[in-house]
Amino acid sequence: MTTASPHTNGRAQNAHRRAMIWSLVLILAGAMIAPLSGYVYVAYAQDEAAWETNPRAETWRDVREGEGGYTSASGPYVTNNLIQNGGENWRNLRNGPVAGIVPWFMAISLLLIGGFHAIHGRNRIDQPLSGKKLLRWRPWERVLHWFTAITFIILAITGLSLLFGRAVLIPLMGHAGFAVWADFSKLLHNFIGPVFTAGVLVMIIAWVRYNIPDKVDLDWFRKAGGMGKQHASAGRMNGGEKAWFWFIAIAGGAVCITGLVLDFPGFGQDRGAMQLANLIHAVVGIAWVALAFGHIYIGTAGTEGAFEGMATGYVSEEWAAEHHDLWLEELRKENRIERPPSQTSPGPITGGATRPGSS
């Protein structure tokens, strides 16, 4: 007991000091803030006074702030407010940062890809190929992939034409020539967009179960996807593929939704909503294109044997062992390896071309 008392004494002193400091801080802050409350009163009182003495000033202020009135005119594009200020903001954002800065996403992406390829070169398969193949992408999965891929490319070209055509294509094609192309672009973009959205939706539903992040992915990213000396393990989808999947699911979803908001007017969305939708659509859409460059590079020139998988559906066993070892192991263990028709003759390694029973 006796040993504890100086200890508690010191603690009490500390508490006192702390209370004192905080009180001082509070008093100082209060001394600075409290007098400002007068402004709140003054602003409020002046507002009241203005309303009482000059209702006209109030009316015009409301007009400047975009308040509406009554109009007997009717039509889909008739608005009842005198001035909408959002338009000018939208114009400045669209013609400024969106058109001037966002395309650098694409440029940086291409630059990184080119730099990476020049330094690192193609990611080759380490083991010699034995010629044994196994099924990675079923026909419907490939159809889904190429359907969204082709529509994505069409949407990217037409969308970029609409945003940058005035600066890039009008000097090349002239006003009349570009107007024809822009008209066609708009038509294509507006009709293919919803179809693409449907494709993306099916893709998310079909592949979400392979793309649940887990610990293996963290390890995969730590080992930089196996680009270093260490081998990075992965299941059917590696960490990078999962990141791409979730980018499409979230950011791509935003692009699709904003696209639908723009594409189907007449559901009550006002100009403000369309302006916001347009900005999100442009910025995230271009980011999507920039990342798609990376996806296309990794799937074609960047990785030996990857394109084969999405083109034919079959990958070499060595490719699978290198990039998706856990997936291969699982297939082996569950005896679910499917060989191409030319290799279906029963052998000790193939274990028979059993189709997966369930799912």
Binding site: R91, N92, N95, G96, P97, A99, G100, I101, P103, W104, M106, A107, I108, L110, L111, I113, G114, G115, H117, A118, G121, F164, R166, A167, V168, H175, A301
Partner: protein, 65 residues
């Protein structure tokens, strides 16, 4: 050697793609700076006779009598 070709292309691509938009600050159009297709009205407006006619008409139409 061939691995430097994509690098060169990648360096060129940003210039082609990103540097294109006319300017980051929005374009300002001054009145009287005509840009666009030929419109025969423009010549008439330049002539001055039409201008005078329009101004006279405004005076007669808009002033209170």
């Amino acid at each position: 050697m061939s691995r430097y070709v994509p690098l060169a292309l990648a360096l060129l691509a940003p210039l082609l793609l990103a540097g294109c938009y006319e300017d980051v600050t929005p374009t300002n159009y001054e009145p009287g700076v005509y840009k666009g297709e030929t419109d025969p009205l423009l010549e008439k407006l330049e002539s001055g006779d039409l201008r005078e006619e329009l101004d006279q008409r405004f005076e007669t139409a808009a002033t209170d009598r």
